[in-house]
C-alpha cells in the first residue's frame, strides 16, 4: 500500500467515524447503540414488575392527599382528602374532608365498580375509571397501587435524559379487557432507582391527553409487606387538551397499618355524613 492509498484510507476511516458519532448523537439514529441497549420483552415486563413491586404495600393503606386544580380565569379548585386502599381485593376509597362544601363526598371502588357518593343529596352514582376526581385532572388510578405489568404491554423506546436523570422510556399499551383511565401511556423510569419520573397519557386515537411528573418519591416501612413501600409525594398533571389547566397532588401522612374490615362499604361512607 503506497502512502497516497494509505492517506486516502485514513481519510475514509475518519469520515466514517465522524459520521457514526454524529448519528449516535441524534436521538433514535444510533442503530449500533440501540441494538445493544434495547430491552427484550421479558426484560421490560420485569422492569414494570419491579416498578410495581416497589410501590406495592401488600396490605392496607391510608394517606392524606391535597388536590389543587388551576384553570384559566377560574378560582382554583382545592380539596383535602383521605384515601384508603386494600391490596387483597383491590378495594379503594377517597373521602373528601375539605372544603366544607365537599366534605363527606367520596369515591368507593369495589370489584369493577367505581361509586361516587354525595352526602348533600344522599345519592350514589356509578362512575368509570375515566372519572376526573372532584373535577380535577387526576384519576382514581393515580392514587392506587401501581399495576403496570398486569394492565399494559410494553415496548422499548430507549433511554432519554430527563433533566439530571437518565430514564428508560417505554410505550405501554393497555391489555384487552382492562378498564383503564388511559389506554396508551409513555413512561419514563429512572434507570437508577426504578421510580417513575414522567408519564404521557394518550387516548386510543393517539391524542396526547395529559403529561404527568413525579418529582418526589418517598419510602415508608410497611408492616404488611415487611419492607419499604415507595409512594410519590408530589404529582403534577398538565392538561394537554386544555393547555392552561394543571393539577397538583400532594400525598402526606401515610399510614400502612391495617384498617377496619367494614371500611370499604357504602354504609361506612354514608355514616361519615350522618
Amino acid at each position: 500500500m503506497n502512502k497516497q492509498t494509505q492517506r486516502r484510507t485514513q481519510r475514509w476511516t475518519w469520515a466514517v467515524l465522524v459520521a457514526t458519532m454524529t448519528l449516535n448523537l441524534i436521538p433514535g439514529m444510533g442503530p449500533a447503540r440501540r441494538a445493544v441497549a434495547a430491552l427484550t420483552s421479558a426484560q421490560m415486563v420485569e422492569l414494570l414488575k419491579l416498578v410495581d413491586e416497589r410501590q406495592k404495600n401488600n396490605g392496607d393503606w391510608r394517606a392524606a392527599a391535597y388536590l389543587e386544580q388551576k384553570e384559566k380565569d377560574k378560582v382554583d379548585t382545592v380539596y383535602e382528602t383521605e384515601y384508603f386502599r386494600r391490596s387483597s381485593d383491590q378495594k379503594f376509597m377517597i373521602l373528601f374532608t375539605k372544603p366544607k362544601s365537599s366534605a363527606g363526598q367520596g369515591y368507593l371502588r369495589i370489584d369493577k365498580n367505581l361509586w361516587f357518593y354525595d352526602p348533600s343529596v344522599g345519592k350514589w352514582e356509578r362512575r368509570t375509571e375515566r372519572e376526573r376526581i372532584g373535577g380535577t385532572n387526576s384519576r382514581r388510578s393515580d392514587f392506587d397501587e401501581s399495576r403496570l405489568a398486569d394492565e399494559y404491554d410494553p415496548s422499548d423506546e430507549g433511554d432519554e435524559k430527563l433533566g439530571a436523570y437518565t430514564a428508560q422510556k417505554l410505550m405501554l399499551k393497555g391489555k384487552p379487557g382492562q378498564d383503564l383511565a388511559f389506554p396508551v401511556i409513555r413512561i419514563w423510569i429512572d434507570k437508577e432507582n426504578k421510580n417513575v419520573l414522567k408519564r404521557q397519557e394518550f387516548a386510543l386515537s393517539g391524542r396526547l391527553l395529559r403529561t404527568s411528573y413525579y418529582p418526589k418519591w418517598k419510602k415508608i416501612y410497611s408492616p404488611s409487606k415487611k419492607g419499604d413501600t415507595w409512594y410519590p409525594e408530589e404529582i403534577r398533571f398538565y392538561d394537554e387538551v386544555e393547555k392552561a389547566n394543571q393539577t397538583l397532588v400532594m400525598i402526606k401522612s401515610v399510614d400502612p397499618n391495617s384498617l377496619p374490615q367494614n371500611l370499604f362499604t357504602k354504609a361506612w361512607l354514608e355514616s361519615k355524613s350522618r
Partner: protein, 720 residues
C-alpha cells in the same frame, strides 16, 4: 300648467301607442316587473308575518321584550341556544332587587323577571341500580323505624322491592342464558354467571334480612354492574322566580301538578322534555304512532318512521320486563294471553307479539296498553312529586348537587309542539345559584387558607422538567446535579390523622329540599345572570333599551340591554338570514329587469330613429323625447308592477284566511302555533310600487339619452 298637462297627455298617449305597437316586448318586460312586484309584496308580507309570530313565541316563552345582563360579560347573552357549545360566559348581576328597582324607574318597563340559564346532567344508573336504590332506601327506613307502624310499613316496602329485584335478576339470568347460546362461552366471565345464579337462588333471598347491607352491596357491585341500560339525561333550565315568571309570561300554563310555591325549592319540567326524554320509550312510541295515524293521516303500512317505531317496540320489551315483579308478571301474562288469544307463557314474547301492531289493530292495542298495562308501570323516570337530583360542575369547577322536588310540568299555549319553546325547564333561583356555584367570600377564604397551609409552589408547564428534575444534562453533569428524590425510611410511621369514626357533619340539603321556605328577601337580594323585561308599549323597544342602559349608569350598574331578537341568539338570526336571501332574490330580479328593459328600450329607440327625428323636426324638444320614453317605462312598471303587487295582496289575503300549516316542531315555533296566518303590510305595497317605478324610470335613462341625441338630419339619412 295647462300646457304642461296637455304635453303629458300627448306623451302618455304616445307611450300607450308604442307599448301596444310592440306587444311582445311589453309582455316580456312587464312579466319580469310583474314577478318582481309579486315577490316584494308576498315575500315581505310572509316574512313580516313570520317575524311577528316568532316574536310572540320568543317574547312569550322566555325572552320578554328586552333582556338585561351585565355589560362586563365576555360573551353575549343568548337565551335560546348559541353558536358555541356550553354556557355563555356572563358576569353576574350581584343584587337582583337593585337591578329590578333600577329597571322599574324606566317609564315603559312593566315587569322584570330574574333569570339564569344553564344545564346539567342527571345520571340515574341502570334499571337495577334504580331498583336497588329503592330497596336500600326501604332497608334504611326499616333500620331507622321508631314506631311499630313505621316498622310494618317499611317491612312491606322491603318485601315489595325485594320482589322487584328478584324479578330483575331472573330476567338477567335469562339474558345470560341467551348470551351463552349466541356468543362464545369463553367471552362470558364465569364469575358473573355465578353471581347471577347466587342472586337468583332462594337461599340468597331467605338470608337477605340477616345481613341486608351486605346482600345489597353484593347486588349493587356484582349484579347491577352487569346491566348496561343506564340513561344520561341532559337538562337545560332557567333559574327564576316562578311567580314573577308566570305573571309576566302569560302563555305559560301548568299541565300537570302545581307551580312551585313562593320561596320553596322546586323544578317544573317543560312538558315536551318530560314526554320526549322521561317517558317509557315504548309508551312514547305508541303516542307518536297515534299522533301520526290519527292527526297527520299517515299509516303504519306506508310510513317508514311509524314502521320503525313498531319494530323498536317489538324488539325493546326488556325495559318493560325489568319493571315487573312476580305478581305483575303473572298479571301481565294473563292479560296479554287473553288479549292476544295466545297460550304463550313467556311475557317477553307476549309483549313482543302485542307491540306487533298494524293499521287495523293499533287503536285497540293502544287503548289496551294504557287501560290494562300502564297502571302497573312507571311511565316516567321521574314522577311529579319525586325529588330530582341534579349535579353540575359549578362555575368555579367544583361539583355541586342539589335535590329539587318536581312540582309539575308546564307548556306555553300555542307552542305545545315546539321543541324550541319546550326545551327549557324551570328551577327555583336558590337551587340555580347553588348549581351555578357563585363563589362566596367565605368559601374563597377557606380555599385560600387551604392553599396556604399546603404551601404548594406553582410550576409552569414550560419550566416543569427543568424545575422538577434539575438542570439539563448538557449544562450540568448528572453526577453533580441536585437529586430531588428523597429516600427517607420512616419505619412504623404514626401519622396524626383524623379518627376514622369521626363524622364530617355538614348540613344535609336532602332533608331540607321540601321543607325549607326561603324568605323573599333572600331570593330577591341574590345573584342573577340576566333578567327579562316586559314592556308596557312593545313598539318602543329601541328607546327603552337606551333608557335602561342610561338608568343603569345613574344607579351605578353596568347593564347591557338587548332586544328579544338579539337575545334569541341563533333563532333570532334565522329571520335575518331569510330576509337577506329574499332581498338578494329581489335585487337579482330587478337587476335582470333593469338590463332587459334597458336593452328593449334601446332597441325600440333605434327602431324609432325616424319617428324621433321627425318629432324633433316638427319642433319637439329633447325634454319631450326624454319624457316620452320615461313615461313609457313607468307605465309598463305601473301597470305590471301594480298587477304583480295586486296578485301578491290577493295571494296573501287568501292564504291569510286558510293559514299555512306548521309541518314540523321548528315551524310551530316560527309560526307561534299550528298555522301561520300571513297579513298584508301597507308598507310592503308602497315599497313594491316605489321599487318598480324606480327601476322602470332608471332603466329608461340610457335609451332616452340615445333618443335625445337623434337629430332631424339623422332621421332623414335613415330614410335614404
Amino acid at each position: 300648467m295647462r300646457a304642461w298637462l296637455a304635453t303629458l297627455g300627448v306623451v302618455a298617449q304616445m307611450a300607450f301607442r308604442n307599448l301596444f305597437a310592440s306587444r311582445l316586448k311589453t309582455i316580456i318586460v312587464g312579466g319580469i316587473i310583474f314577478f318582481g312586484g309579486l315577490l316584494v309584496v308576498a315575500g315581505n308580507s310572509l316574512l313580516d308575518s313570520v317575524v311577528a309570530s316568532m316574536s310572540r313565541s320568543v317574547i312569550g316563552s322566555v325572552a320578554g321584550h328586552i333582556q338585561v345582563y351585565n355589560a362586563k360579560s365576555k360573551d353575549t347573552l343568548e337565551v335560546m341556544g348559541r353558536m358555541m357549545m356550553g354556557d355563555p360566559d356572563l358576569s353576574q348581576l350581584d343584587d337582583f332587587a337593585k337591578v329590578r328597582d333600577s329597571l322599574l324607574k324606566v317609564e315603559n318597563v312593566k315587569s322584570v323577571v330574574p333569570m339564569g340559564i344553564s344545564g346539567a346532567l342527571v345520571t340515574s344508573g341502570n334499571t337495577i341500580d334504580l331498583a336497588l336504590e329503592k330497596l336500600r332506601s326501604a332497608v334504611n327506613a326499616r333500620h331507622d323505624a321508631k314506631t311499630d307502624a313505621q316498622r310494618v310499613e317499611a317491612e312491606a316496602r322491603v318485601a315489595s322491592e325485594k320482589g322487584h329485584v328478584r324479578q330483575i335478576v331472573s330476567v338477567l339470568q335469562g339474558d345470560l342464558k341467551n348470551a351463552k347460546a349466541v356468543l362464545d362461552e369463553r367471552t362470558i366471565d364465569p364469575a358473573d354467571g355465578a353471581a347471577v345464579n347466587r342472586a337468583a337462588s332462594d337461599a340468597f333471598w331467605q338470608d337477605f334480612d340477616k345481613e341486608p347491607f351486605e346482600a345489597l352491596e353484593f347486588l349493587e357491585n356484582r349484579i347491577a354492574s352487569q346491566a348496561a341500560d343506564a340513561d344520561l339525561l341532559f337538562l337545560n333550565y332557567i333559574g327564576t322566580d316562578f311567580q314573577a315568571f308566570q305573571k309576566s309570561f302569560d302563555r305559560m300554563k301548568i299541565v300537570e301538578g302545581t307551580t312551585v310555591p313562593a320561596g320553596k325549592r322546586g323544578f317544573l319540567f317543560a312538558k315536551h322534555v318530560y314526554e320526549e326524554q322521561l317517558k317509557l320509550k315504548a309508551a312514547r312510541r305508541l303516542d307518536q304512532i297515534k299522533e301520526g295515524t290519527e292527526n297527520e293521516g299517515e299509516t303504519i303500512a306506508t310510513d317508514p318512521d311509524l314502521k320503525r317505531m313498531v319494530r323498536e317496540n317489538v324488539s325493546q320489551v326488556r325495559e318493560i320486563l325489568l319493571q315487573l315483579d312476580a305478581a305483575k308478571t303473572v298479571d301481565f301474562r294473563a292479560k296479554l294471553q287473553r288479549e292476544l288469544g295466545s297460550q304463550e307463557a313467556d311475557v317477553g314474547k307476549l309483549l313482543a307479539a302485542f307491540f306487533q301492531t298494524d293499521d287495523q289493530n293499533f287503536r285497540e292495542r293502544y287503548d289496551f296498553f294504557y287501560k290494562e298495562l300502564a297502571p302497573s308501570l312507571e311511565l316516567y323516570r321521574v314522577r311529579i312529586g319525586d325529588v330530582l337530583t341534579i349535579k353540575a360542575f359549578t362555575r368555579s369547577g367544583y361539583v355541586q348537587s342539589v335535590n329539587v322536588p318536581v312540582y309539575g310540568t308546564f307548556e306555553f299555549q300555542g307552542l305545545e309542539k315546539s321543541t324550541l319553546a319546550g326545551a327549557l325547564n324551570l328551577m327555583d333561583m336558590v337551587s340555580f345559584r347553588e348549581l351555578y356555584g357563585f363563589m362566596s367570600g367565605e368559601k374563597l377564604a377557606e380555599i385560600q387558607a387551604l392553599q396556604k397551609a399546603a404551601g404548594a409552589r406553582e410550576v409552569s408547564r414550560e419550566n416543569a422538567e427543568a424545575e422538577l428534575f434539575g438542570s439539563k444534562a448538557e449544562d450540568a453533569p448528572a453526577a453533580k446535579a441536585p437529586r430531588r428524590i428523597e429516600a427517607t425510611t420512616t419505619p412504623g410511621v404514626a401519622p396524626v390523622m383524623r379518627d376514622l369514626g369521626e363524622s364530617l357533619g355538614g348540613k344535609l340539603q336532602r332533608e331540607e329540599a321540601r321543607s325549607r321556605v326561603f324568605p323573599a328577601d333572600e331570593v330577591e337580594r341574590g345573584v342573577v345572570l340576566n333578567a327579562a323585561v316586559i314592556l308596557k308599549n312593545p313598539k318602543k323597544i329601541r328607546e327603552t333599551i337606551v333608557a335602561i342602559e342610561a338608568q343603569g349608569k345613574r344607579d351605578g350598574l353596568t347593564l347591557k340591554a338587548i332586544d328579544w331578537q338579539a337575545a334569541a341568539g341563533l333563532i333570532g338570526q334565522f329571520v335575518n338570514v331569510i330576509r337577506m336571501v329574499l332581498y338578494v332574490a329581489i335585487l337579482i330580479i330587478f337587476l335582470i329587469a333593469l338590463v332587459i328593459i334597458n336593452n328593449a328600450l334601446v332597441m325600440a329607440t333605434l327602431e324609432r330613429v325616424k319617428e324621433i327625428g321627425t318629432l324633433r323636426a316638427i319642433g319637439a324638444q329633447r325634454r319631450f323625447i326624454l319624457a316620452m320614453l320615461v313615461v313609457e317605462s313607468i307605465v309598463v312598471g305601473f301597470i305590471f308592477g301594480g298587477l304583480g303587487a295586486g296578485l301578491g295582496v290577493l295571494l296573501v289575503s287568501v292564504v291569510g284566511k286558510i293559514g299555512i300549516p306548521a309541518k314540523s316542531d321548528v315551524w310551530f315555533f316560527f309560526f307561534s302555533g299550528p298555522r301561520l296566518y300571513p297579513f298584508i303590510g301597507t308598507s310592503n305595497i308602497v315599497a313594491a310600487f316605489a321599487i318598480v317605478l324606480l327601476v322602470s324610470a332608471f332603466s329608461s335613462f340610457y335609451p332616452a339619452w340615445i333618443a335625445m341625441r337623434v337629430t332631424p338630419r339623422q332621421a332623414m339619412q335613415e330614410e335614404e
